[in-house]
Each structure stands twice: as C-alpha cells, then as structure tokens.
C-alpha cells in the first residue's frame, strides 16, 4: 500500500514540477523579448557562461580529436583504409561528439554555476527583494541568463568540433603519417554542409535551449536553504546530462535515418 502511495506522490510531484517548469519557460521567453532592450545584461551573462567555458571546451576538444585520430587510425589501418581517417574524425565530431560533449561539459561547468547563483539569490531573499521593488526577477535575472546560454552553447560546440578536427590532424598527419591532403580531401568528400554540419548545429541549439532551461529553472525552483541549493545544483547536472543524451538519440534518429 505504502509503496503504491509513494509512487502516486512521486508522479504528482513530477507532473507539478513539469507544469511549473513550463510556466516558468513561457514567462522567461516573454522576458527574453523584454530584456533585449538592456543589452549589457546579456553581454555580462555571455561572458559568465560562454567565455569562461572556452578553456575547458578547447582542451577537451583537442584531446577528444587526438584520441579519435589515434583510435581511428589503429582501426582503419587493419583494412588499409587509413586514408579515410579525416572523414571518420570529422563525421564523429560534427554529428555526435561535438554537440553532445559540449552540452555535457556546459551543463557541468556553466549550468551548475547558474543554478547555484540563482538558488543562492533565492536563499538570501534577493529575488523577493527585487519583487518588493517592483522589478520582475524573471525578466531581470532569468531571461538574460537563459538567452546567454542559448547563444553560447552553439558557438562553443562549433569551437569544440573545429579544435577536435585539428587534434585529429595533429595525431593523424603529424604523428602517424597520413597524408595531409588526403586527410582534408576525404573529409570534404564525405562531410555535407547541410546533412552533417547543419544538423550538428541544430542539435547544439536544441541542447543549449534545454540545458539552460533546466539550469535556470532548478535555481529558481530550489528550496531556499543551503542544502536545497546544493541538491538543485546536483539535479541540474544529472537531469541536463540525461536530457542531452536522450534528446541526442531522438534527434539522431530523426535526422540521419534516410536511405
């Protein structure tokens, strides 16, 4: 009996949260249009979530590209197909690894920071104070952060992919002796601007939307205690990562299932 009741409570709680998150998203989207007039606020947030994340993205991109170059070469050389190394590296990065890994790193680096910041603002009654002064906290605090994450993630994903391709080049051409021209031409033969690169960009836009939404909402919805903020931060990273991986599967099956 109790376990069934617990299940019921959990379902009701989840549906309520989902409803709150949707209402929150709607008012944030309205806030985004209102906040466009106050551009410096957005610039500040792009700095916080975007520029400060560049380092980890560039370093991870480089290493992921280098590992792809190494692993791809070792696998392909058995079939005498090491001339396709550039294609293997570029396709895995543009289609999957670039958008997905960037979104996961972004959730860990910037998403958790967003949640903690907003949660602490709530715990220290700053949001309530704003409302007292007739300043809408959703418009003033949430909307610029949401927009900044939405702008920053696709740019970061593009950097990740580009650096990864260069990392594969360093290992494949510099270390393992694949011909430089072959590396680039096999890539250009096989990678389509619309099918592969544009779909990767669409993925990163979707991930940017979802990850930032989860991060900002978790902060806004946090229990205003130090324990509540810490839980909300953990939940941001867990839920955002799971959402990215689940959405990636759905998007991939929608985008790349022709033939």
């Amino acid at each position: 009996m109790t376990s069934i009741r617990l299940l019921g409570r959990w379902v009701i709680y989840s549906v309520q949260r989902l409803g709150r998150a949707t209402v929150f998203l709607m008012s944030t989207l309205v806030g985004v249009f209102l906040i466009l007039r106050r551009f410096p606020l957005i610039v500040q947030q792009v700095f916080a979530v975007g520029v400060l994340t560049v380092l980890i993205i560039v370093v991870s991109g480089l290493f992921v590209g280098m590992v792809l170059g190494l692993q791809g070469y070792n696998t392909l050389v058995d079939f005498g197909a090491e001339s396709s190394l550039g294609l293997v590296v570029a396709l895995s990065l543009t289609r999957e690894l670039g958008p997905v890994l960037t979104a996961l790193l972004f959730a860990g680096r910037a998403g958790s920071a967003l949640t903690a910041e907003i949660g602490l603002m709530k715990a220290t009654s700053q949001l309530a104070g704003m409302e007292m002064m007739a300043v809408d906290p959703i418009e003033r605090v949430m909307a610029p952060r949401f927009l900044a994450g939405f702008i920053a993630l696709p740019l970061l994903a593009a950097m990740f992919t580009a650096i990864g391709v260069l990392g594969g080049y360093l290992i494949g051409v510099g270390l393992l002796g694949v011909d430089s021209g072959v590396y680039w031409t096999s890539m250009q033969e096989g990678v389509d601007v619309y099918d592969d690169i544009m779909n990767g960009v669409i993925k990163s836009v979707v991930f940017g939307f979802v990850v930032t939404w989860i991060a900002v909402f978790e902060g806004y919805d946090a229990v205003p205690t130090s324990e509540g903020v810490s839980r909300a931060t953990t939940r941001t990273v867990v839920i955002a990562s799971l959402a990215v991986l689940g959405l990636d599967f759905i998007l991939t099956s929608l985008m790349f299932n022709e033939v």
Binding site: P40, V43, Q44, V46, F47, G50, V51, V54, A90, T94, A152, P154, L155, L156, A158, M159, T161, A162, I163, V165, W184, M187, Q188, E189, V191, D192, V193, D196, I197, V201
Partner: protein
C-alpha cells in the same frame, strides 16, 4: 573587470565561435568545392544505375566537375533518369559526350564518369546525354559467368 574588457572578451568569444563554424563549413564541409547553385543541369537515362546516390560526384578524366542532383524512373520506358548538375566553368562539353556509372575501386562508392565526344556544339541546360553505359552489377556478372560456364560444360 571593467565593462570594456568584458565586452571585448565577449566580442572575441563570438568571433571565435563564428570562425570555427566558418572553418567547419569551408574546410571540413564541401561548401568550397563544387557549388550546385552555380551549375547547369543535363539528364542522362540509364538501364540500371546500381547503387548510385544523389550527390554522388560527376567526373571527367578523373576530375570532379559536378554532382548527381536527382534520380528518377522514366514513366514511359522504366529506365532511370539521372539529373547531373555540372559546374558552369565546364560549359564546353560536346553534345555527343557519353556517361557511364562507374565504381571507384572494387567495392567503392559509385559515380558518373563523362567521356567527351567530338561534336562542335556544346551541352546546354536541360539537354540529354544520349550515349550512356549502365552500372556493372557484380551479382549479375557472376551469374552470367556461372551460366555460360555451365553451358560450356554441357
């Protein structure tokens, strides 16, 4: 951090992101190679195109000069109509140019190879290549070989 420095960093961030996207499009992708927008289209009908795909390369003397832009079935004679988009730079192909569906390597991807003829007139937008050679389907070839061998034995 001062407001100017912050704005400078954000500006650099956006430029770096866009530069990375541009590099992906131009260096990794195929935007810099044959541009289908600046091309003229000719058709060719084949008895069998094998595994030819839309976007497969069209080559002449081994040089890529265009792409396959469409593959359809002719409603009258059930042959395959292949539409080729050829770069405008190569607008001097003779009208009796022949087309063949070829395979790169033994098991590689299929492409359309053009062989120039000797006519004075050139192919224009919408023209049709008359002399074509279908794809070699490996299974049929092996089947024919076995069949003729069996007949020879009998």
């Amino acid at each position: 951090m001062s407001k100017n420095a912050l704005e400078l960093w954000v500006g650099l961030f956006v430029i770096a992101g866009l530069a990375a996207a541009a590099m992906l499009a131009l260096r990794v992708g195929n935007l810099s190679t044959v541009n289908v927008a600046d091309a003229y289209k000719v058709t060719a009908s084949f008895g069998n195109v094998g595994g030819l795909n839309v976007k497969a390369p069209v080559t002449m003397a081994g040089v890529k000069i265009g792409r396959v832009s469409n593959i359809q079935i002719d409603r009258e004679d059930y042959s395959a109509i292949v539409e080729l988009s050829i770069d405008r730079r190569y607008n001097n192909l003779p009208t009796d140019t022949s087309a063949a569906v070829l395979t790169s390597g033994l098991l590689g991807a299929q492409y359309v190879g053009l062989e120039p003829g000797g006519q004075e007139a050139y192919l224009k937008q919408g023209d049709r290549i008359e002399i074509t050679q279908s794809a070699v389907v490996l299974e049929q070839l092996i089947g024919q070989m076995l069949f003729s061998k069996a007949q020879g034995d009998g």
